[in-house]
């Protein structure tokens, strides 16, 4: 036991050398493209490019819609994660699998599915248009598309945290006289706060990067549905330098998000 601990401290890892070599290739596959795009940035024109009216419209829209969809993910995803983690019912496994579907579904397929749900001829869309509500090709559609693809991140992250925390603290809280709402507010949610925070951050990042479902379901109208990824795709042909500059903005946001997401669990554990 102590010898094994000593071996660990001395740095014995038991990983074959060729595995390390492959790992280096894998890391390079991720890091090299990032370096490449940074190298391609036209620095003298960087500021004018990212502050053009089109760019600012797109950036503002992206931040607003991503914030809204992250909020929606929290409001809808926390109850869903609680139900999946804490209760038992028929079809639970199926529901969990279906909730994960947007993670693996091509976003463009998700966009089509949303179109046939909320579009004018869609499942709910016809009812909504009778009420005078038009969702497809509006900013609301952007938020719905982002929520659709980002919700699984929050649910998976939170459900994992809930399962790790276990229900023993909740049982003790209940026997101490706490009503279910009090238990949720004062025990459950504080216990899983790190998981909730990283789930929310991941949802925000996924919303910010959403492209396929947005384009299919919401279109690309400047200031209304043209988010930053759509603007980048559009500029790629017209002005590659602008596309690269805007890409760097998204990259910086992504780096910030990852930094936050990876720091919060450790802070929670300390």
């Amino acid at each position: 036991m102590s010898a094994i601990r000593a071996a660990r401290n001395a740095g014995y890892t038991g990983i074959p050398r060729w595995v390390l070599a492959v790992a280096v290739v894998a890391a390079a596959l991720i890091v090299l493209p990032l370096v490449a795009i940074i190298a391609r940035v036209d620095w003298p024109r960087f500021l004018p490019l990212v502050t053009s009216p089109e760019s600012l419209d797109a950036l503002g829209l992206s931040l607003r819609t991503s914030t809204a969809s992250t909020f929606l993910c929290l409001v809808l995803g926390v109850p869903l994660a609680l139900v999946l983690a804490r209760s038992q019912f028929r079809g639970q496994r199926l529901l969990r699998a279906l909730v994960l579907l947007p993670l693996v579904l091509p976003p463009v397929v998700g966009g089509l599915a949303l179109l046939y749900t909320f579009g004018r001829q869609g499942l709910l869309g016809s009812t909504l248009s009778v009420l005078g509500i038009q969702i497809a090709f509006s900013t609301a559609a952007v938020v719905i598309a982002q929520t659709f693809v980002a919700l699984p991140f929050l649910v998976v992250s939170l459900e994992g945290a809930l399962r790790t925390a276990g229900s023993r603290y909740e049982a003790v809280a209940a026997t101490l006289g706490a009503r279910p709402w009090t238990v949720l507010r004062r025990v459950t949610l504080p216990l899983v706060l790190p998981g909730l925070a990283s789930g929310a951050v991941l949802s925000f990042a996924r919303s910010l990067g959403e492209f396929g479902a947005t384009l299919t379901f919401a279109g690309s109208l400047q200031g209304v549905t043209r988010t930053l990824p759509l603007e980048i795709y559009l500029q790629r042909e017209a002005d590659p330098d602008a596309a690269v500059a805007l890409s760097l903005v998204l990259l910086l946001v992504a780096v910030t998000v990852v930094a936050i997401a990876y720091r919060s669990p450790q802070r929670g554990a300390a």
Binding site: A173, A174, T175, L176, G177, R179
Partner: protein, 354 residues
């Protein structure tokens, strides 16, 4: 106003009835998997039995019989659970933990903190009120858990092996504390330690395979055990069989001569037990003669240290044990597998109906 519960759980073959008087502390003991924690779970409302009912101070906690289906949730039962691990809420300070129950009951924050402070003082934890659970030792955390449980002012306190996870120095401290706070309080304590039962409980209930096999005042159950588990707790040899004129005849035909403790005449042929301490058993290489003595051949199964004696355990169904001095062990050359004779005076064997 008593507390009473009866519950059946088919899957676990659990069928228990228990009543606890006001101010009474009942110890629940039994082998692993006997259903001790299930019992607490059912009472606390964390485990739903198939049928049964429970009442506390005239209030129905649950009634699951035929047509009626009443099931009060845990937070409306007044039964607080104190587990083996403290399970203090890690994001709250010791004081906020102790104030949790009053706060949940709607007591204003300032008043709840005052109550919590008083309970922390009662468990000698007032100095560390501001600490987070992560900054407390196991014993300190369990003391805060006791304060948190008592601050709820429970009708019935449920303790599930509260000392089992503590180290050898903190356990006696907390046991003394529990003795102080359990006095005059209605509680059920599940424990593996006979010392807990002796010190903390008025009555002991022995649970085995989901049934209560023995119940009574702690001294009585330990003094005259009627189950193998209770006999094991008090560390005596325990033989079951049928009563004869002079003792108990075991199923294998061997008769243990002894003296009847009870004045009441008991008919021969009824179920009976013979009980004698290992210290009353001598070990010989040859059968010992002369009445009134019991002398029976056994095979030594193993030897183990027991205080300043050596405990010789015999193989076979009766699980007999004898305590001999290390010197005698050496002189007799006792080793596992050896055939020897266990000899015990009839006067040292207590016989009573099962």
């Amino acid at each position: 106003m008593t507390f009473s519960v009866e519950a059946k759980i088919r899957d676990r073959d659990f069928d228990v009835q228990l009543a606890v008087a006001p101010g009474e502390t009942v110890a629940v003991m039994g082998p692993n998997g006997a259903g001790k924690s299930s019992l607490l779970g059912v009472i606390a409302g964390l485990l739903k039995p198939d049928s049964g009912s429970a009442e506390s101070n005239g209030r129905t906690l649950f009634r699951l019989d035929g047509g009626t289906h009443r099931w009060e949730p845990p937070h409306r039962r007044g039964t607080v659970l104190l587990a083996q691990e403290p399970l203090l809420f890690p994001h709250l300070s010791a004081l906020e933990n102790a104030a949790f129950a009053p706060r949940s009951a709607g007591v204003p924050a300032a008043k709840a903190r005052e109550v919590a402070g008083q309970w922390l003082a009662a468990v000698d934890m007032a100095d560390l009120a501001g600490r987070k659970p992560g900054e407390l030792s196991g014993g300190q955390a369990q003391r805060v858990a006791v304060a948190r449980a008592l601050a709820a002012d429970p009708d019935l306190l449920l303790l599930d092996e509260p000392l089992a996870a503590l180290d050898i120095t903190s356990a006696p401290l907390l046991r003394r504390l529990l003795k102080k706070v359990l006095a005059g309080r209605r509680a059920i304590i599940v424990t593996h330690d006979v010392l807990d039962a002796l010190m903390l409980a008025d009555r002991v209930v022995i649970l085995d395979a989901g049934r209560i096999v023995e119940a009574g005042p702690v001294r009585e159950v330990l003094g005259q055990p009627r189950s193998r588990f209770a006999a094991g707790l008090s560390g005596v040899n325990f033989v079951t069989g049928t009563l004869t004129t002079s003792g108990v005849r075991a199923p294998d035909g061997f008769e243990f001569h002894g003296h009847q403790d009870l004045a009441a005449a008991t008919e021969t042929g009824a179920d009976g037990v013979a009980v004698f301490p290992p210290s009353a058993v001598s070990v010989f290489l040859e059968p010992a003669h002369g009445s009134p003595r019991n002398s029976f051949p056994v095979t030594v199964a193993h030897l183990e240290p027991h205080g300043d004696q050596i405990r010789v355990r015999a193989a076979g169904g009766h699980q007999l044990a004898a305590d001999v001095t290390p010197q005698a062990t050496a002189e007799l050359g006792l080793v596992p597998g050896m055939r020897v004779y266990f000899v015990v005076k009839a006067g040292a064997v207590s016989v009573y109906p099962a």
